[in-house]
């Protein structure tokens, strides 16, 4: 990493930049900034704080928030539990077909939510290829909160696994070797050395998955339906209100923006402390 970063200033120094280029860069950034922030600013300008608090007092809105938080927490639990060891394996072993495995694991990243919804129905829906097995196990997914958790997990987990794999791969292998030389089993080294060392990356991955799960809409609607308190998460509640109560839809949107901004901010803080920690070490 430091080698690449060190090479860059030298290369730039060799070729003087024309004066118009920085202007183009500035204009491009200004355009991007305006385009990306204007809709978000409009959410807050269009709804008064009083209206916002009112809308949050509605039972349906509170149900949606509570459901979103519960379903997201459950899906994050699953993602961390399964995704962490899987990412560790991907980061530390090389085996035949590994890049294919990585591509498959990352595929949901580029799937449209509607495709995710159809795919889940075709796989584990009541008449999907595994529908009978799911039913035999006594689990109901469609139109149930469990279905929401499945949808969120499907779309959000690649964000975590991808980030966690990178985090494990960048841990200095001599630390792991030292731990093994001192007699620790691989499982113990994984828990006591690898996870703490990769923690900033794992946290960032968790936050990304959290943001994606909170915002999930299409797969949830298609696979799990929309019912207050059971399957109607905040994005679905926003869509439901869009036609009848635009103010309330705005207020719920504002809450989602605030939560998402808090997530993004915490990722930045973690990454900064990681950078500082790295510099100190």
């Amino acid at each position: 990493m430091s080698g690449v970063a060190g090479a860059r200033p030298g290369a730039v120094r060799g070729a003087p930049r024309p004066a118009w280029f920085p202007a183009v860069l500035g204009v491009a950034l200004a355009l991007a900034l305006t385009f990306l922030t204007l809709p978000i600013v409009a959410i807050f300008l269009d709804s008064s704080p009083a209206r916002l608090i009112d809308a949050l007092g509605e039972p349906a809105a509170l149900d949606a928030l509570w459901l979103s938080l519960r379903a997201t927490a459950m899906s994050l639990g699953l993602i961390l539990l399964v995704g962490t060891p899987a990412a560790y394996l991907l980061a530390t072993r090389s085996f035949c077909g590994k890049s294919l495995v990585i591509t498959l694991v990352e595929l949901p990243l580029v799937l449209p939510p509607a495709v995710a919804g159809i795919a889940l129905l075709a796989a584990v829906g009541p008449s999907g290829i595994l529908g009978g097995a799911v039913e035999a196990a006594g689990v109901e997914l469609a139109l149930e909160t469990a279905g929401v958790v499945v949808a969120l997990t499907f779309v959000a987990s690649p964000f975590y696994v991808r980030q966690a794999t990178a985090a494990f791969a960048s841990v200095d292998r001599t630390l792991l070797d030292a731990s093994r030389t001192l007699g620790a089993s691989e499982a113990r080294s994984f828990l006591r050395v690898m996870i703490p060392c990769a923690m900033p990356g794992l946290t960032a991955g968790t936050a990304l998955a959290l943001g994606r799960a909170l915002g999930e809409f299409g797969a949830t609607l298609m696979f799990a339906g929309s019912f207050q308190g059971i399957t109607q998460t905040v994005p679905l509640a926003i869509y439901d209100r869009f036609s009848t109560d635009f103010d309330s839809a705005l207020a719920l949107s504002a809450v989602l923006v605030a939560v998402s901004a808090a997530i993004l901010l915490s990722v930045k803080l973690v990454q900064r402390s990681e950078a500082l920690g790295g510099a100190a070490g």
Binding site: T103, P126, S127, A142, S243
Partner: protein
Amino acid sequence: MRLLALVLATAALAGAGCGDDSEAGSGKRPRLVVSAASSMTEALEACAPHFAGANVRLQFAGSDELAAQIRQGVKPDVFAAANTSLPVELHADGLLSSPVEFATNQLVLAVPRDSEIDSLGELARQDVKIAIGSASVPIGSYAREALGRLPAPQERAILDNVRSNEPDVRGIVGKLTQDAADAGFIYVTDVEATDGELRSIALPPELQPTVTYGAGVVQGAERPEQAERFVDQLLDGRCADALREAGFRPPPR
């Protein structure tokens, strides 16, 4: 990364293809944007390409959602809703021309083809899962209107079995064809459009709500004359024929 690039490239090509179709096929013909209730998808897709004088771009969604878009300043040329109240409200607010009633539809109970359910009464059974339209969509309010004419305990028992309030007809049909729900309330035309995947059970006449479709020209439409002609032939013309073929009935006289 390579995969992402491939997917993006494919998407770009597909997008470009669509654009070419609508523009190139048109020559210099003007474009007419029609926002219509999802329940008319099949019928209007069959007749719109034959509309003379303009390329019709159809936009389907729940009527309430389309009305909300118009309130937010989206300007299609024609708005065709699955009820008359939304067009009348938009007209009262100066956003739509005086609406025309152009078709009627029947609300039915729909079940998957091999379902054991044969009557409305069975929906009150405890293990039945029902999908209906959200209260804000016409299909949802018609269903609630019909159920409201049942004795209160029966209405209660049926509504207690509702597991999903879908934003439009397509959501309900999807839940039924995928066996996620056991029964739902949709229009008879939606059942016919599934080509036998779903079976319709007629509601007792005393429960049947009046499902009248209304359409109008959006104020500030780019092509008001063409829009008006499109509305006219919903009432009498190629689209009226397509609607009859799909199971819609003529408007009340």
